[in-house]
Amino acid sequence: MEKQTTIPVKINIQNKDFNVSEETKILQQNETGAIVNFVGIVRGFDEKNNNVIDSMTLEHYPGMTELEIEKIVRQGCQRWDITGVTVIHRVGKLLPSDQIVFVGVSAKHRQNAFDSCNFIMDWLKTKAPFWKVEECNNHKKWVNYNLSDDEATKKWVV
């Protein structure tokens, strides 16, 4: 029997901020007992290069970004029994401590919500076409990708 995959899915790429409470309410469906939210925050310090960050600008590949996130969400829906998914990713200029990404999943049971949210976030990090440039003292630097993000996806290979 095929798994039900026709759950409410919301995917937004936007400049504006998001409200975690409102998104949590939207994720609630009839049978929801658990919601897990991931919120990514812009950090003011680049640990690897020992740099302070004044701001960061995100660009993306309109159209492909949404398609890639849809693919990841579809895999999550097939793998876990969940009742709703929301992915919001901001683009444009952001400041330290700004919210940058929201991944929320609702489910009947909590472990499905935890695992699918973690799964979607890990794959988003390695597949969704976004690029960050960090700004500091009028100098800009494209952020290098993290090998550890590729590593993180390995736990989902069955």
Binding site: L67, W131, V133, N144
Partner: protein, 83 residues
Amino acid sequence: MVIKYFSWIKEYIGKSEELIELPDDITTIAELINYLDNLNDHYKRAFVKRDLIKIAVNKTYCSVETKISNNDEIAFFPPVTGG
């Protein structure tokens, strides 16, 4: 054919998008990269780290062996860094 460039590749090449007429003898992404690489130093610089560069054809990830035609939208970009 539309070619899109993102992140530092866009900056090296100096444009985010261009329209080219695909020469008849170019049938794969690998051949397209060689073609662009020979146009001028900007492309050459962008494609130096070509093993690192990600490729999409019609907004789907693909490899250098992927067959392409003049109606395709190609994109070249570095590994992604969102989230």
